[in-house]
Every structure is written in structure tokens, then in C-alpha cells.
Amino acid sequence: MISWVFGYGSLVWRPAFPYLHRRPAAVHGWLRRFWQASPDHRGTPEAPGRVVTMVAEAAAVTWGMAYALDPAYAARTLAELDHREKAGYLRLMLPLDFGEGPTKERGLVYVAGPDNPNFIGGDTVEAMAAHVRGAAGPSGPNPEYVLELDAALRAMGRPDPHVAALAALLSS
């Protein structure tokens, strides 16, 4: 058996932790949304950026990347993930779908719920684009985050309309 970490944001295109191999995968019942403020990676406490979280929605399917973890680096990997996702994200274990429906395999997923202090909710795509355009943090400019995520999802053949709409405005 294998343990997985499922990424649906920056982990899709920049995991930066040791793993054995990776596979595109999806989780059911969750919807990716740019509804989470980032005071620590793509923004600052004074001018937080906007990054993705997932919100529960029964019929939704969110595609991302599943990483098979290397147990030899367990503590280090977990510490790195925790540090990276520290601004309000919680750990969940969700069933993974590798393209043929949900399986018994589960992935560790970081989800920032509506009760966390950095949850800012939705806005018009234009307003979100304006927000993202003006933000940058220790991990880089906020637009880069959106564009890289959009490109990675397209490359795996699973574009996300929500991400694509925001990326289109930022590219224009």
C-alpha cells in the first residue's frame, strides 16, 4: 500500500518534497476556489494574496496531483507540508480517484475551511484578478501562482474553468 498526498494548488506544479512517484488524481465532493487569503506565501500579513482552498459541494470533482510519499522522509516531509500550508489549513484524508472512480486509496489533503481566519470567500472574477495582480509574498508574485496552476491543470488534461477564467484575465 502507498500513502499519498493530494495537491490541488501549488503542490500540483511545485511539490518540493521527496516522493516516490506521482499520478493525476481527483477528489469527489470538493470544489477548488480562490477563496483563501495568503499572508505568508503569495502575500504578506499587510497585503495578503489569494490562493485556492476547497469547499464541500456534493457533486463537485476537483483534479490535482497525487504524490506517493517516501516513508524514509516521513517526518521531514510532513513538517515541510505543515509549514507550507500553515495559514489555516487542516489535514483531511480523502478517497482518491485516479480516473476510474473513487478508490480505497486515500490522500492527505490540506483544506482551509470557512471557519479559518484567512478564509475570504468569493468575489467576481474581475475583483479577484485585481486582488491577485497586486499581491506578492515570500514565494513569489501571486499571478505566477494562478498561471502556473492553470498551465499544470491544462497539461494533465484537466483544466478547471474557475482557474482558467482567472488566469485568462491575468494574462490579458
Partner: protein, 694 residues
């Protein structure tokens, strides 16, 4: 109110009849065999009708009266199933105890709410939440089997559900190398203990299940390791690495499984083979000596002095009113389960502690549902009185407690100096040499406890500026990293002596190129004195902040007042503490660090209700190479002339004269040597250490 008085009130009548324990029937029925045996029924029935047993029974009845909750058919919930299990257990207990068919029916109904879609759960650390479900339902089934109202087909169906869930649980957390490495491996603490207790409990209940031996071998190998010296979870003086709060989560479930094992295997050796799959030999754990497949006999720790010593450590730490102090990641909490040891060779002080807690007497839920156990195993024939010791020096644990008495208004001081396995734990704070104080029934000089606004970050109060330390250029020891990045923050306790209500302890830590040696003195149960000797290899003049956190000011209520040489915090009750600080190396400036609402260093979270509050902080600031400090910590119940504190003008050093309770004390420190003169003794402090004379 004094704890003894509370004890008398709770017990109702101080002269409690001693009951001979009835001889077990012959032959002993097969059920119940887990939380109780058949003969406990008579024991319990004889106890009912007097305090505190009636109150314990009322707790069982309250739980039994609750309705079951429907679980989410799509996501198995440990919370819902855990609560349902405790309801089923409570009803089954009443059915067994009182031959109550209606209670049996409700307990049987509980199993219909238990789903086996465990693999749909979404909780990363569901392993630590499984004891409630598995132990509760196993107990319910075991108790029901001792009644005439549990048909065999229902027994088989209930058992099938429990072993199905346990099979899934074991496969996910133990057979999956990745999950085990990520979830259990880095945390050799209450996490694997709770996992082993839950799985081992099912293995004990259904030993003929095909995988029961696999479960038992792993669970009891793990329990033997973690409660023994190799696990380094328990230090040689009984201290537990993750602090008194999380220790409660380990101890309660361990007590439940050890009691069950005692009920099942009291007269025959419990033979197993070692399963070493979850050993970790990374720092601070010992090299792995476990060999898979090696036969061993599990020695039940239930009557073992080393197991009881962990409860003594917890009791030694307790605040004067019984709750455990915030130390590491912790808040005020009572201890659950110690009084059960009264049936297993334990001292009556554990029952005294359990009954006398001011905040939450008779705690029976923290970490494990042990309510029914208290009816069977809390034996009120034991002599319930406070420990024979007051002060407690526990250098392996890294805790020195100075205590004037066991009264609730006693003076209590806790000096911390943890190192190695006592410090290197997930819940650690960078608090070497930190000193906290309580007096007159109030927590006054505080540890900020547990404030963790992000679940995935260390507690914001974990770092040195949130503790009562000497900060050099803003820091003491380096911050701890995430998970097993322990940081370089070893401290040590290096000295102790006591003389009645006077005692001292010495802690030492090196950071910022400086060795800080702190001698904390309890003076005749009246006040505290602190000598801080600093030696550095740095020749630079640096900013030194002698920092103290007090429980008043801002959103904590009460008042805070800065003075030229220190500060006074006063609680809304009128109880307060005056702190005066001086340095033989120059004038200090008493000031408050900049305040941001809800942020360190002013924020804390340690009350039972987990409210986040801010408090006032004193910094006695001096810029020098390695300044020494002399401080007086003077608690009071109401400002009065009974206590007088004056700084004396002496050449070549600093001095205070303190008049307290009609006696005069003088404390001096010239940077080389210090002294504290009391009417009946003198304490000297110098490079060689500290010593009382005559």
C-alpha cells in the same frame, strides 16, 4: 476553601465502612471480563447509597439517558461513533448492574448505529480518536453478554462490526508503511499509546479472531515499549515528556486496557511475540533493541511503581487547587483515573487529588470514559490524604516544584529545566529556566499555555519570549521547529535543597553565548527570591530583558502597574504579586514590551474554557555584557502593611529588605555571590552553587 474540607463535603461522612471484597463466584462467568468482572457487581451495589458513588452512578445514568446520533452514511465519524459507544456502554453497564432489561434494549440498539464504513473517514489522526468507539462498544457487548437479553445472533453481528472496523484501522495505520511512518512514527507519545490501546482492547475481547494475535502482538509490544525505559516517554523520575495535559490522553486509555488485561489474565502469563514495526531510533529515542518475533511475557504495569510514579509526577506538578498547570502545550486540567489505583496498590493520595480538585472534582472523562471504572475500582477505604512530600525535585523530568503546603492557598513555584527526551517532544515549549508562581488560590506569574491559531504551526506561545526568562537581544534559546526539529534548547536542573517551607532549585541553560544559572528560592512559604547569574563568552554589551508574565492587565482583568524597579499585577479577586528587580551591573529600566492584541508576548490560553486572553508583561531592561539579576516575587492576598519590600542602598551590589509575617529577610547580590538571610537560616549563592546554612 481547603481541599480537606471539600473532600469531607464530597464524601458526606468521613467514617467510611471498609468492605471485604466478595469472593468471586465459582466458576466465574465468562462475561463481563473487560472493564469489570462478575464479582464487581456486589462490590458496586454495596457502595451505592453513599458519596461519592451515587454521584458517579448519576454520571453513568446521565450518559445512558442520551439519545443515539445517526452517523453520516458517507463519512464515518469518530466523534459520533465515540459518543454512541459511550452511551451503549453506559446502558449496558446499568443493564448488568441492575438487571435492567430496558437498559439492555437501549444498549443493544446502540449497535445498530455503528457502521462499518470506517474507510470513509476523513480524519488524518483518527487513530487517537478510536479508543472511545472501540473500547466503548467492546465494553457494551461484554456487559450485555452477562445479561439474559443479548441474543447470540446479535452478539455475532456486533462482534463482526467491531473486528471489521479494527481490521480496517490496523491495515491503514499499521500495515501501511507510509501512514505508519507519517502518523505514528514521529510521535512516540499518546498517539501510538491510544492506537495500541484501542486495537489491543479488541484483541483482548476477541482472541479467537484470525488477526487478533497480530493486533495483540503489536499493541502490547508498543505499550510495553512506551511505558518502559526504552520508549523514553516516561523519564526515570516519572516525568512524561509531552507534559501533564497530553499525558492524560495516554494514561486514561492505558489504565482501561491494563485493567481489562488484569481481569482476563490475572492468574496466567500473557504470552506474545514482539512486533517492532513502529520503533523509531531517531533522537531522542533509544536505539532499537526490539527483535520481531521474539517471545515475551507482557508485564502488566497496573501495580508497577514506575506506572504509579507517572501519576505522582502529575500530582507533584499540580497547582495548589489541584488542576495541572500549563506546562508545554497544556491548559488547566484535572487528572482522570489516578483514584482507580486504590484497587491496585496505589496510594490514597491519588483519590485525595481526584476528589479535591477545585476546578473540576471527580473528573472521569478526560482522555477516556472511566466513569463505570470508578464505581468498581475507586476504593474509598484507602486513606485519602495529601502526599507526604511538598517540594518535589524531578531533574530527569526537568521540573522542580516548590510548595509550602497542600492547602489551596499555598505558595507554589515551578522551575523548568528540561533536556533530552524530556524536552524533545512535539508539544514542547522553549522554556528552560522559566519560573511560574501561584499563591492565595490564584495563578499569578504565568506560563502562557496553548495558543495555536493555526492547527499546523507550533503554538505561538511556544517560543522563549512568551516565558519568564532572561532574553538576550530578544531571545533565549532558539525557537523549536516543526515536528521533530527539536532545536537547541536543552536546559538542566542542577541543584535543590529544602528546609521546611523554605526550598530552592537551580536551573541552567546556555544560549546566546551565555550561561544563565537561575536559583529560585521559596522563602518560608511567604515569597520567592530569584538569583540569576550570567556568564558569557561574548564581550559585547547586549540588551538583556529579565522578563516576567503576570496574570492581570488587558483582557485578563485586574490591574497592572509598572514601578521604577518592577511591577505589580493584581487579580480581580484582590490577590496579587509585586515583583522587584535589580542588577548589580547597573540600573535597570522597568518597561512593557510593545503590545499587539492577541499576539505574543501578551497572549495566553490556559483557562479550562480555552479563552484566549492578553496579560501584562514586565521587562527589566539593561544593556551590559552579562548582567546578573536579583528579584523578589512577593504575592499578597490584599495589600497591607504585613508585607514590606525595600531596596537597600549598598555598595558594590544590590539588596532588598523584606518584612513578611513579622519577620525580616535580607537578600543581597554583588555579581559574585548572593545571600538570603532569614531568621532561622541563611542561603548563599555563588559560582559553586547554592546552599543553606547552618
Amino acid at each position: 476553601m481547603k481541599r480537606l474540607l471539600l473532600l469531607v463535603l464530597l464524601l458526606g461522612c468521613p467514617t467510611t465502612p471498609v468492605e471485604p471484597e466478595p469472593e468471586p463466584d465459582d466458576p466465574t462467568p465468562a462475561h463481563p471480563s473487560m472493564m469489570v468482572r462478575h464479582h464487581h457487581k456486589d462490590v458496586i451495589l454495596q457502595r451505592l447509597g453513599r458519596a461519592p458513588y451515587d454521584a458517579i452512578l448519576a454520571d453513568v445514568e446521565e450518559r445512558a439517558a442520551q439519545d443515539y446520533e445517526e452517523d453520516d452514511p458517507d463519512v464515518w465519524s469518530s466523534s459520533i461513533n465515540g459518543r454512541n459507544a459511550e452511551r451503549a456502554q453506559a446502558n449496558a453497564f446499568l443493564a448488568w448492574l441492575f438487571d435492567d432489561e430496558a437498559a439492555a434494549d437501549k444498549a443493544r440498539d446502540g449497535f445498530t448505529y455503528l457502521g462499518t464504513h470506517w474507510d470513509t473517514n476523513q480524519t488524518w489522526d483518527i487513530n487517537i480518536r478510536m479508543p472511545h468507539s472501540l473500547m466503548g462498544y467492546v465494553n457494551a457487548l461484554d456487559l450485555l453478554q452477562a445479561t439474559p437479553w443479548m441474543p447470540d445472533d446479535e452478539v455475532q453481528a456486533a462482534r463482526a462490526k467491531l473486528v471489521d472496523i479494527t481490521d480496517q484501522f490496523f491495515a491503514w495505520f499499521l500495515l501501511d508503511e507510509g501512514v505508519r511512518a507519517f502518523v505514528l512514527g514521529p510521535a512516540q507519545n499518546n498517539h501510538p499509546i491510544r492506537t495500541a490501546a484501542a486495537i489491543g482492547y479488541v484483541a483482548l475481547a476477541f482472541p479467537d479472531h484470525p488477526t487478533a494475535d497480530l493486533w495483540a502482538n503489536w499493541a502490547f509490544s508498543e505499550l510495553q515499549y512506551l511505558w518502559g525505559p526504552e520508549g523514553r516517554y516516561v523519564q526515570e523520575d516519572g516525568g512524561v515528556s509531552e507534559g501533564p495535559f497530553y499525558f492524560g490522553f495516554a494514561w486514561g486509555v492505558a489504565a482501561a486496557i491494563f485493567i481489562a488485561l488484569d481481569n482476563l489474565h490475572a492468574d496466567d502469563p500473557f504470552e506474545l511475540v514482539q512486533d517492532c514495526r513502529n520503533r523509531n531510533d531517531g533522537d531522542p529515542w533509544a536505539p532499537i533493541s526490539c527483535v520481531d518475533g521474539t517471545p515475551f511475557t507482557f508485564a502488566n504495569p497496573l501495580r508497577d511503581p514506575s506506572y504509579h510514579a507517572t501519576v505522582d509526577w502529575s500530582l507533584a506538578l499540580s497547582l495548589p487547587w489541584g488542576s495541572r498547570p500549563p506546562l508545554a502545550d497544556a491548559y488547566f486540567n484535572p487528572f482522570n483515573g489516578g483514584s482507580l489505583l486504590s484497587s491496585f496498590g496505589g496510594d490514597g493520595r491519588y483519590a485525595w487529588d481526584w476528589l479535591g480538585n477545585r476546578d473540576r472534582p471527580m473528573e472521569m472523562h478526560h482522555g477516556a470514559d472511566l466513569v463505570g471504572h470508578h464505581l468498581a475500582y475507586f476504593d474509598d477505604a484507602v486513606t485519602m490524604e495529601p502526599p507526604p512530600w511538598t517540594h518535589r525535585y524531578l531533574p530527569a523530568a526537568g521540573n522542580a516544584v516548590l510548595r509550602s503546603s497542600w492547602e489551596q492557598d499555598a505558595l507554589w513555584m515551578l522551575l523548568v529545566g528540561e533536556s533530552g527526551p524530556a524536552r524533545k517532544t512535539l508539544h514542547d515549549h522553549v522554556d528552560g529556566t522559566s519560573l511560574t508562581l501561584a499563591a492565595h488560590g490564584e495563578y499569578l506569574l504565568l506560563d502562557p499555555g496553548y495558543y495555536k491559531p493555526s492547527q499546523l504551526d507550533n503554538a505561538q506561545t511556544a517560543h522563549s519570549p512568551s516565558h519568564n526568562l532572561v532574553l538576550i537581544d530578544g531571545l533565549a534559546a532558539p525557537n523549536k521547529g516543526l515536528l521533530t526539529n527539536w532545536g537547541d534548547a536543552d536546559a538542566a536542573l542542577v541543584g535543590f535543597d529544602e528546609r521546611g517551607t523554605a526550598a530552592f532549585a537551580v536551573a541552567e541553560q546556555t544560549y546566546q553565548d551565555t550561561t544563565v544559572t537561575r536559583t529560585a528560592v521559596m522563602v518560608d512559604g511567604l515569597f520567592g527570591v530569584v538569583f540569576d547569574r550570567l556568564e558569557t563568552t561574548s564581550g559585547d554589551a547586549r540588551e538583556h530583558r529579565w522578563r516576567m508574565h503576570g496574570y492581570a492587565g488587558y483582557t485578563s482583568g485586574g490591574t497592572f502597574a509598572l514601578a521604577d524597579d518592577g511591577a505589580t499585577w493584581e487579580r480581580p479577586s484582590g490577590v496579587g504579586v509585586q515583583v522587584a528587580v535589580a542588577s548589580p551591573d547597573g540600573l535597570i529600566s522597568a518597561e512593557e514590551p510593545p503590545y499587539t492584541e492577541g499576539a505574543p508576548p501578551h497572549v495566553h490560553e490556559f483557562e479550562l474554557n480555552r479563552e484566549v486572553r492578553d496579560h501584562a508583561v514586565l521587562d527589566a531592561v539593561i544593556t551590559a555584557s552579562a548582567p546578573d539579576f536579583l528579584a523578589i516575587l512577593a504575592p499578597y492576598s490584599a495589600p497591607s502593611a504585613a508585607f514590606d519590600l525595600q531596596e537597600l542602598d549598598v555598595g558594590g551590589g544590590v539588596a532588598f529588605e523584606i518584612t513578611a509575617d513579622g519577620a525580616t529577610y535580607t537578600a543581597t547580590f554583588d555579581g559574585t555571590a548572593g545571600s538570603l538571610t532569614a531568621p532561622d537560616w541563611t542561603l548563599t549563592v555563588d559560582a559553586a552553587g547554592a546552599a543553606f546554612s547552618p
